[in-house]
Amino acid sequence: MKRQVLFLVALIIVVGTLWGGLSRIHQFGDPGAAPMDDYYLHNAQAERSANNIVTSIVFDYRGFDTLGEAAVLFTAVCSVLVVFRKGGHN
Amino acid sequence: MNGVFHFFILALITVSAFFAIWFKDLLSSVVSLAVFSLLLSLEFYVLQAPDVAIAEAGIGAGLTTAIYVIALRGCKALKKSGGERR
């Protein structure tokens, strides 16, 4: 029971400081200067000739992340198949 | 107008998240989680992110709920109250 109280206090401290940090990132709706994103917004259409900038980021500029993401999905499928595989010895 | 709508969605998101934890019946919790995902995808749409909104609606509200329901069915706890031992 003492442990639960400790966890509750820790939880409140962590989330409180987290919220303090969140409100110090930047004001909502005002990210300020965004050089990386503005580069995409201004040049992605000309460079990669895709109208959807998000897709051109997902599959081109950050395509490697997407490969990793597809690999995570593949991993999850393999893991679920492992957990529910038909058993029996070889 | 837009601000009020936005405020309303944020409030509903919080409430549905709270109910997802609060309900003792597991199926109600899962349905509440689905509602939460749907509202979250609406919020993404309001924040001008339709790509993510479609993904969240399809994956969060659709598939995740289906998987949760299958898991509940698998645990034979679909109709039973799972939270009586709180």
């Binding site: 400081t17 987290l18 303090g20 940090g21 969140l22 110090r24 990132i25 930047h26 990210p31 300020g32 200067a33 965004a34 050089p35 990386m36 994103d37 580069y39 995409y40 040049n43 081109d60 500029y61 950050r62 395509g63 490697f64 992340d65 490969l67 990793g68 993401e69 690999a71 995570v72 593949f74 991993t75 999850a76 393999c78 893991s79 198949l81 492992v82 957990v83 595989r85 038909k86 058993g87 029996g88 010895h89 070889n90 | -």
Partner: protein, 521 residues
């Protein structure tokens, strides 16, 4: 443009391709599957050694995914990279070599060890995915990409820990590991979001270049440290470690060790390269040192009383992580003071990094020998074992080497790295050094117990039929044994070629940043 420039991408792409083809290769039969498992692991190890050689000769390797040229990181008028960058300095390359050797040994071992199970096509795929995740974590120079590879490694390890799904303990260990690990990963994602929101960049070098320590950055730092320290199993976040290491198949545990080292790499990459000199106060270094000392002591004192062989070894791995945290934490403490760095900090870091490779090798070997015992004798409980030295001479020999190395007996490699850590930490605070010595003694004590009960003594009637394990498993163990003997016989060579460049690269924050941001493109 020679193919050498593509090495960083190939090191990740080859095991990933291996994973995708593994289910197809398994359709061709058992031999094809085993050949694929070992062959691709060997190719990965070869490629990472080549990469390491290239990094040593020609400096930090940069690879930009999808750009017109591999090193064109910054478009005109930009001050930060817009694409995913693989940034391989000497420390990353060192980690890749260590991890891929462990993966190769584990793959060799698994060919025979896993043959009593079904679903081996999935096993091969998950094994490669775990390798991919580990290699991606150490090679990438992008924070979000680090998170993605961390998730690949995590999800693959959940599947592999639960591989023996008819054992309730395996599922239980996997579930507990999963809950803790997923929350840690989400903490990392939130920290990345913080850094992205502040600096509008996700590349490690760009964030490090722009970083000014403020409130939000401190929260991000804490989240990153906690999550990564949890992933490498420090006290008091180590509870999942004994469960997961015990229940995973032995070949996988050997690789899980390397994955925990990749998390340790992430921790030090964050502390040294991203925050670096701007870390300011000594709170974070001291936190790492205290976590390290706690891990050493609690880990080893739990290990002494265990009676299940793999669980005992898993608690030892908690305690060994403490040595690395201690060494590198002392280095971090001395980071902003050049005099202290020259006096003891650099030696401590060398000790920590040398201990990292030693630890991966001998701990991997210990888990493999434990797996061999389990395979041959059918039990992991030390009370049921006894007198196996007569029937399993090769396993006994390799176990003795690994146990002597982990206990820090001279002349083995564990002694050298522990010596460096003791002497340098003695210069800062003697009490730390004394704690490390006590830990070392207790380590020796518990391995004497294992050796005495499992290998020595009269043979038990139940174990009369035990035979030496099949050649695949022996080969897998001997790979690691050869590496340990090599490290033992040539400590100067390994220190000056493997460890020192890595330690220098870790300290050199400006070099890490300027490889992407400043100087030439």
């Amino acid at each position: 443009m020679s193919w050498h420039v593509h090495l960083p991408a190939l090191v990740i792409a080859v095991p990933l391709l291996g994973a995708f083809i593994a289910p197809v290769a398994s359709m061709l039969g058992k031999v094809a599957r085993n050949f694929w498992l070992v062959g691709v692991s060997a190719l990965t190890a070869l490629l990472s050694v080549l990469l390491w050689q290239q990094v040593l000769t020609s400096g930090t390797a940069i690879y930009v995914m999808g750009a017109e040229a591999f090193n064109l990181s910054l478009p005109s008028g930009m001050s930060l990279p817009i694409r995913i960058i693989l940034e391989v300095d000497a420390f990353s390359a060192f980690m890749a070599v260590v991890g891929s050797i462990a993966a190769f040994a584990g793959a060799l071992f698994s060919t025979n060890y896993m043959e009593r199970f079904s679903g081996l096509d999935k096993f091969a795929a998950l094994y490669f995915l775990l390798t991919t995740g580990m290699l991606g974590m150490v090679l990438t120079g992008d924070l979000f990409n680090f998170f993605v590879f961390l998730e690949i490694a995590s999800v693959a390890s959940f599947g592999l820990v639960a591989f023996w799904r008819d054992r309730p303990e395996a599922i239980e260990a996997s579930f507990k590991y999963m809950v803790v690990s997923t929350i840690g990963a989400m903490m990392i994602l939130i920290a990345i979001a913080f850094l992205y929101g502040r600096y509008n960049a996700v590349s490690m070098a760009a964030v490090a270049n722009a970083l000014r320590l403020g409130y939000a950055e401190k929260i991000a730092l804490v989240f990153l440290i906690i999550a990564l320290a949890m992933k490498c199993g420090t006290v008091p976040m180590h509870m999942w470690t004994p469960d997961a290491y015990t229940e995973a198949p032995a070949g996988v545990t050997c690789l899980l060790i390397a994955v925990s080292q990749a998390s340790l790499y992430g921790l030090f990459r964050v502390c040294f390269s991203i925050y670096g000199a701007s870390l300011g106060s000594a709170v974070v270094p001291w936190t790492i040192i205290i976590l390290g000392v706690l891990s050493m002591f609690i880990g080893v004192s739990m290990a002494v009383v265990q009676k299940e062989i793999k669980r005992l070894m898993a608690y030892h791995s908690v305690s060994q992580i403490g040595y690395m945290l201690l060494g590198l934490g002392v280095g971090l403490l001395a980071l902003s003071d050049p005099q202290a760095m020259a006096d003891y900090g650099f030696t401590a870091m060398k000790g920590g990094i040398y201990h990292l490779i030693n630890y991966t090798m001998y701990k991997g070997l210990l888990f493999l020998t434990a797996g061999a015992l389990y395979y041959a004798a059918g039990s992991r409980n030390l009370n049921d074992l006894g007198g196996l030295a007569r029937t399993m001479p090769y396993t006994t020999f390799m176990f003795v080497i690994a146990a002597a190395a982990i206990a820090g007996l001279p002349p083995f490699n564990g002694f050298v790295s522990k010596l460096l850590i003791y002497e340098s930490t003695f210069a800062v605070y003697p009490i730390l050094s004394i704690m490390a010595l006590v830990t070392s003694v207790l380590t020796l004590a518990s391995f004497v117990k294992v050796f005495q009960t499992a290998f020595l003594g009269p043979a038990k009637a139940k174990l009369a039929q035990v035979k030496e394990v099949p050649p695949g498993m022996l080969l897998g163990m001997s790979v690691l044994t050869i590496v340990i003997i090599g490290l033992t016989l040539f400590p100067t060579w390994s220190l000056s070629n493997l460890v020192e460049p890595a330690a220098k690269a870790l300290v050199n924050q400006a070099g890490y940043i300027s490889a992407v941001i400043g100087g030439g493109l």
